[in-house]
């Protein structure tokens, strides 16, 4: 596992404060996290259930598609039955990546990020579907909780101690490239041959990042390694929403002189799956909707 040192990161909370703050976030999100857990259970359950499939001479249920060929073949093609297939074992590795840069603190997104972290991590650990890790990112990427450690209350407190929203850059490119390495390592260390491992990264950030083209390439690379990335944009900027944010670009026109071009910031956003959340109460719904969509696609793709 990679642990990067960064002298600019300072824990802003004492252990006692962190304990108090974590239990506060857990309390304010308790009902929401129960509701999210229930929704996720509904989403995950069908993926764990057995399926009727196959072409057999005997079985539990008739395969309707085989009936006409069966009759047409003078009852020779008689593999018309389906059987319940052995469920494939699935395990999950879910990484929560929390933006620790200064813009989070300045826009008031930090608190919402902590609530989101408490809500999502609690729900995922209640589901007991797999391993959870937490990383912080800004100038650098640091692991605040490792996949192979249990996610206890104590773990939550220790994670909080590591966030100060003081980092002076938001290097999402570095986050994605280092996350891919972390996921590779975790995949290699995960136990159980024949187990299908699903890897998911949830990024919790105010969404302001640079170098969209490189990030887009890295997101594609992650996808090729079957790592799903969902970007949760915390939209707490006072007075203006990221939905209305624009960016000024300079492009050369036909005569070679530079012309201003205004673009909607989110139009160039490099993540295919993103949600914009301005209130933690919206999170269970939007988050479970996004996950349901993802699982549906993966289940479809894996037949």
């Amino acid at each position: 596992t990679i642990h990067l040192e960064d002298s600019t990161i300072q824990s802003s909370l004492s252990p006692e404060e962190a304990r108090r703050v974590w239990s506060h976030y857990e309390t304010v999100t308790r009902d929401l996290s129960l509701s999210l857990t229930e929704q996720l259970r509904l989403i995950l359950a069908p993926t764990l259930a057995t399926k009727m499939r196959g072409d057999f001479r005997t079985g539990k249920r008739l395969n309707i598609k085989r009936i006409i060929p069966y009759i047409a073949s003078q009852y020779k093609r008689d593999k018309i039955w389906m059987r319940r297939s052995v469920p494939s074992k699935r395990s999950y590795q879910i990484m929560l990546a929390v933006d620790d840069s200064r813009s989070m603190g300045e826009s008031g997104s930090g608190q919402l990020a902590f609530e989101t972290l408490a809500l999502v991590s609690k729900s995922l650990s209640m589901l007991e579907v797999g391993e959870i890790s937490v990383v912080g990112f800004g100038n650098t990427v640091r692991v605040a909780h490792e996949f192979d450690k249990p996610f206890t209350n104590e773990a939550g407190v220790r994670i909080l101690e590591q966030f100060g929203f003081q980092q002076t850059k938001t290097d999402v490119r570095k986050l994605i490239s280092e996350s891919i390495n972390l996921f590779r390592e975790a995949r290699n260390q995960s136990s159980g041959a024949g187990t299908e491992l699903w890897q998911l990264q949830l990024i919790i950030s105010d969404g302001i990042c640079e170098d969209h083209d490189t990030i887009r390439r890295l997101v594609r690379q992650a996808q090729e390694e079957r790592i799903m990335i969902v970007f949760i944009i915390i939209d707490a900027l006072r007075g203006s929403s990221i939905m209305d944010m624009t960016q000024a670009k300079f492009e050369a026109d036909s005569t070679g002189s530079m012309k201003v071009k205004m673009e909607r910031y989110l139009d160039g956003f490099p993540f295919g799956y993103y949600l914009v959340v301005s209130n933690v109460r919206e999170l269970p719904i939007v988050f479970s909707t996004a996950l349901r969509q993802w699982f549906a696609e993966v289940v479809d793709a894996s037949g």
Binding site: E210, F250, A252, M262
Partner: protein, 109 residues
């Protein structure tokens, strides 16, 4: 950093900073709901002027001067941030005014 006095022609990926443009002159003010805009940090007065002119859809470009915290911006945004110990994580409030004094005249003072 480019020393090109016009808009530096550096292609992205470049650093950006969130800027809130304000002015006290009604005739050159931006639409009321204009929020923070992400702009390249290598911009100087000239590049920032082109953005305001673009937003105002001015037929003839108006030269603007920019003030941050009451002082005229005479460097790139990047140099300003560094000199003042700021990072591109903050929102910069930039006040713009019509540039009244031609640069040459100013230089002779």
């Amino acid at each position: 950093m480019s020393t090109d006095p016009t808009v530096a022609a550096e292609s992205p990926p470049g650093a950006q900073v969130k800027v809130q443009f304000i002015t006290s002159h009604a005739d050159i003010s931006l639409p009321e709901n204009t929020g923070p805009i992400l702009v390249p940090t290598h911009l100087r007065r000239y590049g920032l002027s082109s953005i305001i002119n673009h937003l105002l859809a001015s037929e003839k470009p108006i030269p603007f001067d920019f003030l941050i915290a009451g002082a005229f911006l005479r460097t790139s945004l990047d140099e300003y941030l560094t000199a003042n110990g700021l990072s591109s994580e903050s929102i910069l409030t930039l006040e713009y005014v019509r540039s009244l004094i031609p640069p040459l005249y100013l230089a002779s003072f």
